[in-house]
């Protein structure tokens, strides 16, 4: 485990350096991007004031040293565009994104696993065949199309849910009413994102289960006379779960990109929108902050998946876990 943590730290460092360099390779510069509109003129006085304030007049190497030493002290810098400390900007958006990502991750994970198990157990039967067709159909529809579809169907023709934002703008609900308000606003975006993730989880679980279905330990469990449901979930599914969990952890990175479209379609608050605006305006400190936060989240969920799959699969707890797994 200690070596794992070392790997994660090295990955983080490399990502930090890349995060610093790549945004600066984009053509254009922050001041033109921000003041490129027609209304406000950037006076030379204003320009030199901003260059100095943002430290953009310094050589790149020096900028990195400043960035890195501030980062170590927990200072993410000041956003050029949002005109506020980056940490404050990110912290405002993070809970919304996490709410959306974690909800979708859990729901699509649980549903995908159950559906995958049921389908694999009935491999070749009608349930399985219909499921496969449904999943393929769902997989073929891009997330934002699905989002717009829900927006129209459940937000407009049958206006059950709000179509914009994360909470009602003109009310300050508290307690349970706030929870209900947030849930109502969360429903459509989370549904869209969940359905986007579901096919992958379903297919993975289905094929993993098909692989273990004929394994001796499943056969043993069955011949012990255990109930079918018990064999299916406690024995077969548990053994098949580890690649699915790993995959779920890895899909967090994908979810963060998928969330951008969903946030735009439903005007949902969150990091996706921040990141989009930050790139548009060359707001380097915010870009760094977003990338760093996403990196940390992805690494954290990967770590969680690594740890989780070991916990779940008893075979991986053994010393030569991998070898053992290959032998079985």
């Amino acid at each position: 485990m200690r070596r794992r943590i070392g790997d994660y730290a090295l990955a983080l460092l490399i990502i930090l350096i890349l995060n610093f360099i790549i945004p600066r390779l984009m053509p254009g510069d922050p001041l033109t991007a921000m003041y490129g509109g027609a209304l406000v003129e950037m006076t030379p006085q204003m320009e030199s004031y901003l260059l100095e304030r943002y430290g953009l007049d310094k050589p790149l190497g020096e900028q990195f040293v400043v960035y890195f030493s501030n980062l170590i002290q927990g200072d993410l810098g000041y956003s050029y565009y949002f005109r506020a400390p980056v940490s404050q900007v990110l912290l405002g958006a993070l809970p919304w994104t996490l709410l959306l990502v974690v909800t979708s991750l859990l729901v699509s994970g649980v549903l995908g696993i159950i559906w995958g198990v049921e389908s694999a157990w009935r491999r070749g039967l009608r349930f399985d065949r219909v499921s496969l067709v449904l999943v393929m159909l769902l997989n073929g529809i891009p997330g934002f199309v699905l989002g717009i579809l829900f927006l129209l169907l459940l937000g407009f023709f049958l206006p059950l849910f709000p179509i914009s934002g994360g909470a009602s703008p003109h009310m300050d609900y508290t307690g349970l009413a706030r929870l209900a308000d947030i849930s109502r606003h969360l429903f459509l975006p989370a549904l869209t994102l969940t359905l986007g993730q579901l096919p992958r989880n379903f297919l993975l679980m289905r094929s993993a289960l098909i692989n273990v279905k004929e394994k001796p330990y499943v056969f043993t469990a069955r011949s012990k006379g255990l109930k079918d449901r018990l064999v299916r979930y406690r024995h077969a599914a548990r053994g098949a779960l580890s690649p699915v969990i790993t995959r779920l952890g890895m899909s967090v990175g994908l979810l963060f990109t998928g969330v951008l479209f969903v946030e735009i379609v439903f005007a949902y608050p969150g990091l996706g929108h921040l990141f989009y605006v930050a790139i548009q305006y060359h707001d380097y400190p915010t870009i760094h902050g977003c990338l760093l936060l996403i990196t940390v989240c992805v690494l954290f969920f990967n770590f969680l998946a690594d740890w989780g799959s070991q916990k779940i699969d008893p075979r991986l707890r053994e010393k030569d876990a991998r070898q053992l797994l290959e032998r079985t």
């Binding site: 984009m26 053509p27 254009g28 033109t32 991007a33 921000m34 003041y35 490129g36 509109g37 027609a38 209304l39 406000v40 003129e41 950037m42 006076t43 006085q45 204003m46 004031y49 000041y78 565009y81 949002f82 005109r83 506020a84 400390p85 900007v89 405002g92 958006a93 927006l151 129209l152 937000g155 407009f156 206006p159 059950l160 849910f161 709000p162 179509i163 914009s164 934002g165 994360g166 909470a167 009602s168 703008p169 003109h170 009310m171 300050d172 349970l176 929870l179 209900a180 308000d181 849930s183 109502r184 429903f187 735009i264 379609v265 005007a267 608050p269 969150g270 929108h273 921040l274 060359h282």
Partner: protein
């Protein structure tokens, strides 16, 4: 386990109740007094509404204009009083004297006086803000508690529009303690004298919630609670009753009108233009630029690229619905005339063989049109017409920043780009015609008669004389044609009957072309 199940079921029940129970539509009151009014915006966030933290775009200014007042303001006709109840200009000493209103209070109850105005100027001098263009001010002095005198560096006609009518006046008793205005975002930072007080701002939700200032000196605001919110789809949001106002797509016009909304067309503040690299052959020759303009059918461009939702460009850059427009008769007409265009190019020494022009070496006369992906449709149409003229055209579509940089570095033949800002004071000409500012949008055509005409109009303090001089600028620019305006797209705004919005002459503040003038929310409204 059982507990968890109960909690889960309870949550589900609450969600279900909430779904059916709470409706978030607002009902406009029949009375003149309105409780809640919601303005929908697709972008949402425009920064914390102080002069230092709002974003340097029109909507950023708009959001602070409800809180902070200026010395003068504008309505649909022109300048009106605000913190100053009247003002006069003394030509001999180049000074404006503003008589300030008495009995005005800041939102926190402190009284407003001339000391605040002088402090504001000095503060912006020390801490530049993009909403305070103070370089034309030589000095400011306080004559008494309610009179200030501002001396100008030189005659500067746009002073009222660009300075006195834009610069947000700050409360001295608060800002004199502030050393880092960019980091000043407490509740105190949004204390002004305006008709509204900021009650809530949530960046990530793009939410601004204002409460009326009942003591506003121009009358109590019509709407008690004013909100700006972020919406996913303005058209649907209006139809659902989520918002009272939104900017909408041209295609939504019909359905919204049928649903009882007022749909108004914005002023033509925004233009799409063809830029010629006049430092490069053959665009360094006036006849060639004129010939290219003659080959383009602007009506067709509006029809095909904008589906009719816009108007053809004027070679003088200013749109025909602006107060400053020179008039069609005063400007050269570059209506499509292929024959004439071909003759002009032939007279320059290019030979026309086999439907194509050849240069002196017998090579086809070829050039590139550079554009951002957003305008590739226009680029294709223009390219088609120039091909028909006999030129060999390649269109290259690139990322916006790449286009901007290549224009800045003169590394292009022709480019299609777009910008707004045409609805403000004619001083904006400077930015798009000569000099080095905003090089990616600027024709940078330093032709002495043009520069002289620009200088003359900026120094003429008499409005009607100035209008003539501004027309002269358009005439020269249109004749020299260093860039050619192709079209002005139309913008539409839809709202219910609650508030009677109007368009402001030369735009709100420095020139924001939106109908959301705060005076529409004040009792006296336009009668001021």
């Amino acid at each position: 386990m059982k507990n968890k199940l109960v909690i889960g079921l309870a949550t589900l029940l609450i969600i279900a109740l909430a779904v059916t129970g709470i409706s978030c539509s607002s009902s406009p009151a029949e009375d003149t007094f309105v409780e809640t009014y919601i303005i929908g915006d697709e972008d949402g966030d425009w920064g914390y509404p102080t002069p230092y933290t709002s974003y340097p775009r029109g909507p950023g200014y708009l959001r602070l204009s409800y809180i902070f007042d200026t010395l003068v303001w504008k309505d649909s006709e022109g300048f009106t009083e605000a913190l100053a109840k009247d003002w006069s200009f003394a030509e001999d000493e180049l000074s404006y004297t503003f008589n300030l209103r008495e009995g005005v209070n800041w939102h926190d109850g402190e009284s407003f006086s001339a000391a605040d105005v002088v402090f504001t100027y000095e503060y912006y001098e020390k801490h530049p803000s993009h909403w305070a263009q103070i370089d034309k001010i030589k000095d400011m002095e306080k004559l008494d508690e309610h009179t200030v005198k501002i001396y100008l560096e030189e005659p500067y006609a746009p002073f009222l529009n660009n300075v006195a009518g834009v610069m947000p006046i700050l409360p001295r008793h608060i800002w004199e303690e502030v050393d880092e205005p960019e980091e000043f975002t407490t509740a105190e930072a949004v204390i002004g004298t305006g008709p509204y007080e900021l009650e809530k701002y949530r960046r990530e939700e793009g939410l601004y919630r204002y409460e009326a200032n009942p003591d506003y000196y121009l009358g109590e605001p019509l709407v008690e609670q004013l909100l700006f919110i972020k919406v996913s789809d303005p058209h649907l949001a209006l139809q659902r009753g989520d918002v009272n106002y939104a900017m909408v797509e041209a295609e939504a016009k019909g359905t919204l009108k049928n649903a009882g909304y007022e749909v108004v067309q914005g002023e033509h503040d925004f233009n799409l233009k063809l830029m010629f690299n006049h430092t490069r052959e053959p665009f360094d020759q006036l006849e060639f630029r004129q010939a290219v303009a003659r080959a383009i059918d602007l009506e067709k461009l509006v029809e095909r690229a904008l589906r009719g939702h816009g108007i053809p460009g004027s070679p003088g850059m200013i749109s025909p619905d602006s107060y400053w427009f020179a008039g069609e008769d005063a400007l050269p007409d570059y209506g499509q005339d292929m024959e004439k265009a071909r003759r002009m190019i032939e007279e320059m020494g290019y030979s026309f063989q086999g439907e194509k022009f050849k240069d002196k070496d017998g090579e086809p006369l070829s050039m590139e049109i550079l554009t951002a992906a957003d305008y590739s449709r226009e680029a294709e149409i223009v390219a088609g017409q120039l091909e028909e003229l006999g030129l060999k055209i390649e269109t290259r579509s690139a990322e916006r920043n790449v286009v901007d940089n290549r224009i800045r570095d003169w590394n292009y033949d022709m480019a299609i780009t777009a910008h707004g800002g045409l609805g403000g004071d004619p001083e904006i000409f400077w930015r798009f015609m000569v000099g080095e500012s905003s090089p990616h949008l600027n024709a940078r055509y330093d032709y002495p008669p043009l520069k002289e005409a620009l200088q003359n109009q900026a120094r003429e303090m008499d409005l009607s004389k100035r209008k003539e001089l501004a027309e002269e600028v358009q005439r020269i620019f249109a004749a020299e044609i260093p860039s050619y305006t192709l079209h002005y797209p139309a913008w539409y705004f839809a709202y219910d009957e609650t508030v009677d919005w109007f368009f402001t002459r030369d735009g709100i503040g420095v020139g924001t072309p939106l109908p959301l003038n705060k005076m529409a929310l004040v009792d006296e409204g336009e009668e001021l």
